[in-house]
């Protein structure tokens, strides 16, 4: 090859210069960035004096957003890999009951209960993925089946062993356990005491916690959300495996012709989704001190909506973890913000449906631009 490689690109007179602005716009996160700004502006105007933006207020919607984010991260990678998991909500209830049954009812140490729940969840995630791959059925149907199977098993297991659908006493069982604080603890207590001493955040003035800061640390739930977001974002955008996730969802056949182990990628993503659901369940069980068979209802749809608001395409192959996290933030802020703003909470669902529709329309438009479809 002795050809001269020309470094200056030839201009094609039929291609319009794409402005920097337009280029910056063509990214999956666009819709969720706009949405986040809009939502914050709205609530700053409407609910500014309601305490929504005080330390307790921020912690309030921060926790709800983090809950959404944890399951959205899993759903996001899975959706980019071209599949859905509708069993996320049932998995949350199931994992919670597994932990409570193992620790409270059967008396195992808490760490054994938690590890068992994760192992069982990963196995079910594997089964979900394996069935989808082997049968070639849409993941929609396979995981819909598991939505019912897991929920039914959860209620059955709780009733059959304890005659109740809520199992309490988890907090006592977690006392002194080494693994439980990883999900139920808080960090940076000292920082918040210091901030309270400075007067940045308030202190309780009465009651048995008088003198303590009203917010006494960052819950592990939020830490988990942050870790999962960073991990998934780097995995997706910076690694070989991330490229395989995009390729598997973009066109599974073309990907496998190029040597991408599509089946392995998809099964691992089903397992990751189950893992995220179990992180959610464990944090929730530790926080409430109990497990209930009906926990996690409708969570699968909330996860999928967060991901779609975040700019992922339902058809797979395109999306962003940061977008999904912002989608979860929008979700949390609006759900709690309506409460602060004294708006009837049923309107939340109206908002949900509306923003979902807007997001999908915007995504379709963005896809047309990037793929050059007309």
């Amino acid at each position: 090859m002795s050809e001269v490689v020309s470094k200056t690109p030839e201009k094609d007179e039929r291609v319009k210069e794409i402005s920097r602005f337009r280029k910056a716009m063509i990214r999956p996160e666009l819709g969720s960035i706009c949405g986040t700004i809009l939502v914050f502006v709205f609530f700053l105007l409407v609910a500014r004096d309601s305490g929504m933006f005080s330390a307790e207020g921020v912690m309030n919607w921060g926790i709800v957003s983090a809950q959404f984010a944890i399951i959205a991260v899993g759903a996001c990678l899975l959706m980019i890999a071209g599949e859905f998991d509708l069993s996320v909500g049932s998995m949350i209830g199931f994992s919670g009951i597994v932990i409570a049954l193992m620790s409270v009812t059967l008396g195992f140490p808490m760490w054994v209960a938690i590890i068992t729940a994760f192992a069982v969840a990963l196995a079910i995630g594997f089964l979900n993925g394996y069935l989808v791959i082997r049968t070639g059925l849409p993941s929609f149907i396979v995981t819909l089946a598991f939505l019912y199977i897991l929920r039914g098993l959860t209620i059955f297991a709780a009733i059959a062993t304890t005659n109740k659908t809520i199992i309490g006493g988890v907090r006592d069982a977690a006392q002194g356990d080494w693994l439980a604080p990883v999900f139920g603890g808080k960090i940076f207590y000292g920082l918040f005491v210091w901030l309270a001493d400075l007067g940045v955040i308030g202190k309780f003035v009465a009651g048995n916690r008088a003198g303590q800061p009203v917010v006494d640390g960052i819950p592990m739930l939020i830490v988990w959300a942050a870790i999962l977001i960073v991990f998934a974002h780097i995995l997706l955008t910076r690694t070989q495996f991330g490229n395989w996730i995009f390729a598997s969802g973009g066109n599974a056949l073309a990907a496998s012709y190029s040597g991408v182990p599509v089946n392995r990628v998809k099964i691992l993503m089903f397992m990751f989704t189950a893992f995220c659901a179990t992180v959610f369940a464990t944090c929730q069980v530790m926080e409430f001190g109990s497990a209930a068979a009906d926990r996690g209802l409708l969570k699968e749809f909330e996860a999928i909506i967060s991901v779609v608001i975040g700019g992922a395409l339902l058809t797979g192959g395109y999306g962003s973890v940061i977008g999904a996290a912002l989608g979860a933030l929008i979700f949390g802020v609006v759900q709690q913000g309506l409460f602060f703003a004294n708006v009837e909470s049923s309107l939340f669902r109206v908002f949900l449906g509306g923003i979902l529709l807007l997001a999908v329309i915007l995504n379709t438009y963005i896809r047309r631009i990037i793929t050059g479809e007309r």
Binding site: V5, S6, Q240, N243, F246, A255, G317, T371, G372, E373
Partner: protein, 259 residues
Amino acid sequence: MSDPLIELRDIEKHFGSVIALAGVSLTVFPGECHCLLGDNGAGKSTFIKTMSGVHKPTKGTIHMGGKEVNFTSARDAIEAGIATVYQDLAMIPLMSVTRNFWMGREPKKKVGPFSFMDFDKANSVTMEEMARMGINLREPDQAVGTLSGGERQTVAIARAVHFGAKVLILDEPTSALGVRQTSNVLATIDKVRKKGIGVVFISHNVRHAMAVGDRFTVLNRGQTLGTAKRGEISPEELQELMAGGQELAELEGSLGGTV
């Protein structure tokens, strides 16, 4: 002439009671463009899928470098140096050119215990290889969907060449393209051939085949009707062989010889 890169002898492929290939033989030499012509249903697709390891032949043998080889998967064939560019499965439109180019063979760099994709290297190599094929990308992270059909084929060909393909199979690379794009792809085939790579060019368009082909093999109803060298056969004769010398005869006059 030097030794053939790949030699397929009396390949038969049966799907249940259907005989898709009934003894097809073909050789590919380094630096030649071997055109495989045939009408729809002639067995072209089955034949190249056998060659690229997707199908196992029912009968017949495949030899590479004088030794018999047995491909059990597409992966085997790729590792042996047989790269296939499928018409509609070459690229994933939603992914960037770089991500497509390296798909399945991503360059990695280590940072501590973690292994990341080396985007600096990936981007610069992609730009370089594309420029070599005569396509100047605006940027390596533009989506493949923004490229024209011919450019997509070229990315796929450049990728195959970069990863050391010895035999490059092109499945109807020009069938969905316009005139300008077709000539670009044909020019790319010429560049690839000059590197000593053996090109198998599948087409049902005699003009495209005549433009770059060194040898021509015609398939009809699962059988070879012989291989001809360039200059030994006219476009009209090729055309007739493809059609099995039948229905087209009456239209010959009004079509001006070739379709």
